[in-house]
Symmetry: C2
Subunit: 247 residues, 2 copies
Amino acid sequence: MTTGADGRGLAGFAALLADPTRAGFCLALLDGRAWTAGELARAAGVAASTASDHLTRLVAGGLLVEERQGRHRYVRLADPGVAQLVEDLAARAPAPATPPRTLRAASAGAALAYARTCYDHLAGRLGVLLYDALLDRGVLDRSGGLALTGNGVTWLAGLGVPVEPLRATRRPLVRDCLDWTERRPHLAGAVGAALCGRFLDLGWTTRGTGRAVRLTPSGRDALAEALALDPALLAPPASRDSGPARA
Amino acid sequence: MTTGADGRGLAGFAALLADPTRAGFCLALLDGRAWTAGELARAAGVAASTASDHLTRLVAGGLLVEERQGRHRYVRLADPGVAQLVEDLAARAPAPATPPRTLRAASAGAALAYARTCYDHLAGRLGVLLYDALLDRGVLDRSGGLALTGNGVTWLAGLGVPVEPLRATRRPLVRDCLDWTERRPHLAGAVGAALCGRFLDLGWTTRGTGRAVRLTPSGRDALAEALALDPALLAPPASRDSGPARA
DNA sequence: GGCACCGTTCGGCGCGGCCCGAACCGTGCC
DNA sequence: GGCACGGTTCGGGCCGCGCCGAACGGTGCC
């Protein structure tokens, strides 16, 4: 018998993520969108009954929240904190050593490496570029912990992103999030999420398949100007894989 | 079959914490010290052989590192990131609903609620008080993410804590860490750890049983002066449970 | 109303885990 | 050298969990 808290609570919670199917669900839901139970079941390759059981447990455990609409059961991650937790755990987990087998997969991998959402903010090479540019431009400062500068508040306002409403949330304004392709931080937190959403609203970016994000031509120029960068720097690696190939 | 990464890596990693015994090990190791295999086995109430097996897996999974000394096997958490991960998970896990049964347990609980280490920094009521005072005094600033101010750098230097060496580490200088008794943040990160260690060096605090921390009388006065606070604010709730009772 | 579809519930099966005790090895102490 | 002690290895038992298929209920469409 131990004096303080034993590990049952923690173990029970961790067990929710200790199953490949449930973990796969959470990774899929990292795109920030709501999925139906059937979609998740198909994506994971399990029977609908199995998926239903797993979802019930994930919801009961507080990792997911559900929303019933007609005959559909939509689920999504409960809050950004859960997304961060899943990302943190996934970052420490060893990669299953599964190099891309097919051309399609390789192309999809390249698209994801270039730009993708990480829950609700921007990740990949573009995300890291943005992060670095924001530091250079004095929007962010990391002389003592990552922080948004007063300069940054006005810069955001110029983009149509008022900061005040973001302060009301419990979520930290800005936060480092380690990029698993670049191995360097990109911007998370309330500001990271707001920027990602604003880019979509402005048409600077569009959603690709899965978590992939595409930068539109006009978006590239506009973003380059806002960051005082050369537009060529923001271009994707190869020009072919930015559009849907054929299927 | 899914296109991107499946959940096996994440699940395997989470499984390390999905066992009550292993989870208990990690919680015990949150005190930041190295424990022997036998100590952990006794604390968890399992056979030595069982503990040995668990430790091997935790080390292989990168959560723990071990150090052999003679016939002892010392283990500790691999790095502060692991400690943060365990804390984050534990904070989300539901409490096992086990109210303190005995007077001893209640007293120990009160001591922990007052002041304890959270891996390597200060937590509990005292930790939260310190955090608030540092904000008031302008050592910390959270107008845009938590950050250490220039003012704070000199304040730390006055305490004999040079900041420059801390910048060399990959660890963030300052970080919020949610306190599970106070439900409010206290100070983590490299500065949080350095402060906690400095207080011990100065004799302002001493280690109690387990993760408990005691504030010495002289420490109370010195800390109150450094923070420009009333010393009475820093006093523990009741005077009796600060020392070893009798047994 | 009839049908297709999404999701849930219920048994039952099989695997993998967690745990222990016993035997063994190495270290340190007397 | 002998003994005590910490830790590890091995074999075996047991329980829980994840999976499925089949049957059922509810919803929406025609």
